[in-house]
Symmetry: C2
Subunit: 353 residues, 2 copies
DNA sequence: TTGTATGCGTTATCAG
DNA sequence: CTGATAACGCATACAA
């Protein structure tokens, strides 16, 4: 493989000149540039990025670490990250499948020297310590954490407001007894959605009996929840499932039992997965723009590293209600609702907090 | 950031020793190892992989270049690649969105020095030249090309045999006049599926009139094809759409016109996308294991680079017919059919061919 | 505008 | 078993 030295020799110039040509230095004559480029072409020279980043201490690569849950949502996030990174002439190095904090650190470590920063999805609050350790080595942006992490930017979605918009929508059909099928305990998305639900419920008419069911975000837990749901007496008017998979499981179980949706009971989900459009009936749900989530994380990373990485800033992306048919006929609710966007900027530079 | 020299000083040993510890050399005393590790922990030392790979000329990273079509199929491929790579302690650097051969080369170039090899999806035959240029710099494995490329391993799926199994299945319901909705010209998947269709048709009863419709793999081209289909006289018994998106578009257009599937006409697709299960009626289609495709590419890359990269080997992964309801009632065909796996091993080491 | 020389953080080849 | 030191390929301060 030809090196910069080979090119220099072939072109009859010094390595510094070749380097300047490849880095777009305007100090080089047009003619020398041509000579160098031709020599490089003859030798089929491709610059070695490892050497380059060793010298400059920059890689132009972003690390991305996601959990192993690979569905449309994650691929959209990756797509958003890749596009935004590419627009800034950066590449991404991807790693999935970290189930615990230790593995998260190990992955980050193995990226040291080949990335300028990291975008990671924090599975749970336990990871905070790991993240803190990592962010000593390079800037880190957290994807969709429900919690704050020191020295670390983050971008999340408006889970709470999304959940509230579902309850509002349900109310617009006159539904009063509204149950929730919760996601896994400890999962921050699940807990924020639960919080939004409770806020919306509490803000209105009081429910004497808590209508909360436990699920784990899987379709089968939605199926299972059907029985528990039917044990409520009287039957709730509506169920808000904290994600679409559970809503779909519930829908099929309900259908099997001959209970009509939305006539006998209304069902809503969260996430707007591709299938939500094709269920029977089509599922009313809440969508978050995964592509934008990824792209925003990249933007946030660039501004953070421009700042020197100090201060933790947080973006919260809005969420949108997607009204289909599972909550009531006639689409009497508003068609779609955007929850407001919030931008929190909490700089903590200049002193301990 | 602490370097290997800092650790050496802190531990009172040489950099060589520290390096040996981190590379698992068995030449180091248990006690020295401990001393080094403790010093490293105190200094929070993370080895710099850029320097490491500059020295060893290995990165333990695989490049992955895919088109921008991000759906479940691609994310499954990536997942397969990531898992297989991770099992061999490698990472992947991902880049999407190359629409032409030049961009493919540019992307590969920008990876020089940070990857040991490349897994790329070849969009069309025009890319062959680009691939050849790349494979001079590091081993390349092609994903799913219908064509052979010199000095370059590849892994594809059994498009032809999959198409044949669809036609066989259609025949098992007594369908004789079987049309095809083709994919885009130049797309190798589309052309292989067309070939399989023609082989299967030709092998049976001759069709006097070619029942071939042009599509472009999009859902809307499936919708459009409906009119053209209805112009055939008499109406064909069945249509094989070269991918699921077109099949789904066709299905909705047919439904709208009041034409019943499968009673009036049978429809089959290819790919088994997630939605295929939820169409009305559920779509009979062909599935390829995308996860396995990715994983196989990695395996193929490792064996190729062990060989020194000489010889181009090709794997073709089997395909499976997924019988649902769009081709006929009663599931009178076989439930699922695996096409046979083929492994071609064409070593061309030892002389010009 | 171009060339020289040094350093980036590791690994590997020698001696010891 | 351990230490000194020369690569690895490139960028850049400094000189010219």
């Amino acid at each position: 493989m030809a090196t910069i030295r080979d090119v220099a020799r072939e072109a009859g110039v010094s390595t510094a000149t070749v380097s300047r040509v490849y880095n777009g230095s305007r100090l080089v004559t047009e003619t020398t540039t041509q000579i160098v480029l031709e020599a490089a072409a003859r030798l089929d020279y491709w610059p070695n990025n490892a050497a380059r980043s060793l010298s400059t201490n920059r890689t132009h690569v972003l690390g991305v670490v996601l959990p192993d849950l690979f569905d449309e949502f994650f691929s959209e996030i990756i797509r958003g990250i890749d596009h935004a990174a590419r627009a800034r002439r950066h590449q991404i190095i991807l790693s999935c499948f970290h189930d615990n904090a230790d593995e998260l650190i190990a992955t980050a470590r193995s990226m040291r020297g080949r990335i300028d920063g990291l975008i990671a999805m924090a599975p749970d609050a336990r990871s905070a310590q790991a993240i803190a350790e990592i962010s000593r080595h390079f800037p880190v942006i957290l994807l969709n954490p429900g919690f704050a992490v020191e020295n670390c930017g983050s971008v999340g979605i408006a889970n709470r407001e999304g959940a509230r918009s579902v309850v509002r929508h349900l109310r617009s059909f006159g539904h009063r007894r509204i149950a929730i099928l919760r996601g896994p305990v400890g999962n921050t998305d699940a807990e924020e959605r639960l919080r939004g639900y409770r806020e919306a419920i509490g803000a209105g008419e009081t429910q004497h009996q808590p209508l909360e069911l436990q699920g784990d975000f899987s379709k089968s837990s939605g199926v299972l929840a059907c029985d528990a749901l039917l044990r409520f007496d009287p039957l709730p008017d509506a169920v808000f499932a904290a994600n679409d998979y559970m809503a779909i499981g519930l829908l099929t179980a309900l259908l099997e039992k001959g209970i009509r949706v939305p006539e006998d009971i209304a069902v809503a989900g969260f996430d707007d997965i591709a299938l939500a459009r094709y269920t029977n009936p089509p599922l009313t749900t809440v969508t978050a723009d995964a592509y934008r989530l990824g792209a925003t994380a990249v933007r946030r990373w660039f501004s953070a590293s421009a700042d020197g990485g100090s201060g933790h800033q947080r973006d919260i992306l809005p969420t949108r209600l997607v009204v289909r048919e599972s909550c009531g006929a006639g689409r009497s609710g508003p068609d779609t609702t955007d929850t407001e966007t919030r931008h929190q900027h909490e700089s903590n530079a200049g002193g301990p907090s």
